[in-house]
């Protein structure tokens, strides 16, 4: 009976139906459904601007879709609602779907818009942590039970840092922020595309950055996951969604001011325009898609993520990378 549960539906991308493409025009076949829900993994922040831009500028409409972009509460919840089919598509980091697939969730990653991890350690310039070795003798605050917290021991180990020399303070996110801003701790683990500009604006000076991705700790982020059933039934819709997002990302990064304005309009109570602008600029740094459409998933990227997760004990039964993701919904030759 347990096998029955685990066995259901995680064959991954390779087994899904493929979208139909007109060989001449390169046009994607008619969408199977037009109404789609996309569940974000948090309330509005800069990196979500492209999804709202796609709505406001009519990119979804251009592709014959009506996408409802909804705010959410963390990657795990998003993944669970997508797995259940409550939502068609969702935004998570790569960590949660990697775990979810192992748990037998019928989901597949179909795009990831940060091919470099935003996870970083920021520190006050007077107590700088510029390299992993700088951590020794310092204190660092991190969100309790977060991805960073889980991979941190392995990171220290890999970089030959003496863990006993590092005071790791595990607290809830806003307590973490308070401790760092109040200089109770020297450094803090955050997302560059989220907290960094907020902190810098509040403190009025630049923080010393240390990106984990520069030390082979690259966990891709801003990943689109889809419900397998949904993807299998509506391959054209999925492909159209990704195509629309490709245009939307391009447009957003080219027209940051307009994207900020759209965001400020949509979330008048929740948005600081200056912060969103900086968040978008930082997003541009880690969203590098030169010869491929925005969201294209590099297999090695996923493989690296899985290796880190396995090394940190977050997954135990690593499968082939194909079990987790697919690029089938991208039209390369546009």
């Amino acid at each position: 009976f347990l096998g029955f549960l685990v066995g259901c539906g995680n064959e991954g991308g390779s087994s899904l139906a493929k979208p139909t493409v007109n060989a001449d025009t390169g046009e994607i076949g008619e969408p199977e459904v037009e109404d789609v829900t996309l569940r974000l993994n948090w309330r509005f922040k800069g990196e979500f601007a492209p999804f709202y831009v796609a709505q406001e500028k009519g990119f979804f409409e251009d592709y014959g879709l009506n996408v409802d972009v909804l705010e959410g509460n963390g990657s795990t919840s998003v993944m669970q609602t997508v797995a259940q089919g409550q939502d068609d598509l969702g935004i998570t980091s790569t960590v949660e779907p990697a775990q979810g697939v192992e748990e037998g969730m019928p989901i597949t990653m179909i795009a990831t818009y940060m091919n470099s991890s935003p996870i970083m350690i920021a520190s006050h310039p007077d107590t700088p942590v510029a390299t992993p070795a700088d951590l020794e003798g310092k204190s660092i605050a991190m969100a309790i039970a977060s991805t960073f917290t889980n991979i941190f021991p392995r990171f220290l180990d890999e970089e030959n840092v003496d863990a006993t020399q590092v005071e790791a303070v595990q607290v809830e996110a806003s307590a973490r922020n308070g401790l760092f801003l109040g200089k109770e701790v020297d450094a803090v683990a955050i997302f560059s595309t989220n907290e960094l500009p907020v902190f810098e604006q509040e403190l009025g000076y630049e923080l010393t950055p240390l990106y984990l991705s520069e030390y082979q700790f690259d966990l891709a982020g801003l990943t689109v996951i889809g419900n397998n059933q949904f993807l299998n039934d509506n391959p054209n819709t999925a492909a159209r969604f990704l195509a629309a997002m490709d245009e939307a990302f391009r447009y957003t990064l080219d027209h940051v001011d307009e994207a900020v304005a759209i965001s400020a309009e949509r979330f008048s109570d929740a948005v600081d325009e200056e912060v969103v602008r900086k968040q978008l600029l930082l997003l541009e740094e880690i969203a590098q898609f030169d010869s491929v459409p925005y969201g294209w998933i590099e297999e090695e990227n996923i493989a690296e993520t899985l290796t880190i997760l396995e090394g940190s004990g977050l997954i135990s039964d690593k499968q082939d990378a194909e079990a987790y993701f697919t690029n089938e919904f991208f039209q390369l030759d546009q």
């Binding site: 959410g72 979330f267 929740a270």
Partner: protein, 273 residues
């Protein structure tokens, strides 16, 4: 409010002797609150507590005023959730309390489940509810209901059980059904207990709704607080908390008014204090 002037004989005597002009108690209370805010204001100024840790009351009030439109509109959303959740809570809780009072079997079977619900933090339950009931209103109503449920049931059970044997015998001697006995004797007799539970419950319902908004919402004071927090806009966070407190006081006050109105006979029979 007879008892007010009769609280204790010592006071009474004093009042008779020293009929000086009295500042109403509520005014004094206002002064205390103002004093509290003054100390807070001075502390933030003298200790130079940074704004993102603890804003001064002045900043908070300024913010409350400047954002009053925003706060009000979000507050209405929250209030609606609280109202529905609390109504659900009362309308399930009281019948459940009745069931528990009349059936030792149900008491034994339900108490463990109720305690379980009560001991599991709403922040743990909330994500599960989101998965089962979605991101909509239902989840928030359910959270407000679940969190305010227990004090209402516990107090109602205590209250319903507190009927004097004499009164119960009176009902029996008239030969009425236990149902009428309940309605005419147990219920009015339990009112002080019931209101105790409802006062705790209604404030908890606010917490439930806000926790619901933390996990699933695009409106409401919980949402506002969350987004303000993400922007490190601590004054707005505190302005939101202040609004929450205000809502709580209003609801509590409303319950207290209802209590006075429904039980005018009560204070006259009690020693007051």
């Amino acid at each position: 409010m007879q008892t007010k002037t009769e609280t204790t004989w010592m006071k009474q005597a004093k009042q008779k002797n020293v009929k000086r002009i009295q500042i109403p108690h509520s005014l004094w209370a206002g002064f205390t609150l103002i004093g509290f805010f003054l100390v807070w204001q001075l502390a933030t100024m003298l200790l130079a507590i940074p704004q993102y840790l603890l804003p001064s009351p002045l900043i908070i009030f300024t913010r409350v005023l400047s954002e009053s439109q925003v706060l009000l509109s979000h507050a209405l959303t929250t209030l609606a959730e609280v109202g529905l959740g609390f109504a659900l809570s009362v309308s399930i809780g009281i019948p459940l309390a009745i069931a528990i009072v009349y059936s030792r079997y149900l008491a034994n079977a339900l108490y463990p489940i109720l305690i379980a619900i009560q001991c599991i933090p709403m922040v743990s339950i909330a994500p599960i509810l989101v998965i089962w009931f979605g991101y909509g209103l239902t989840t928030k109503i359910l959270l407000a209901c679940l969190i305010s449920f227990f004090p209402i049931v516990i107090n109602a059970v205590t209250g319903f059980r507190s009927l004097d044997k004499d009164m119960h015998d009176l009902g029996r001697s008239i030969g009425i059904s236990e149902w009428k006995n309940f309605f005419y004797l147990r219920l009015p007799n339990a009112l002080p207990h019931l209101f105790g539970g409802i006062k705790v419950g209604v404030t908890l319902a606010v917490v439930g709704a806000v926790v619901g908004e933390f996990v699933a919402s695009e409106r409401g004071l919980g949402y506002l607080q969350l987004t303000a927090n993400a922007r490190l806009d601590t004054p707005l966070v505190f302005a939101t908390l202040f609004t929450l407190a205000l809502i709580g006081m209003m609801l509590f006050g409303a319950v207290q008014l209802l209590e006075r109105w429904l039980m005018p006979w009560y204070s006259a029979n009690k020693a007051g204090g």
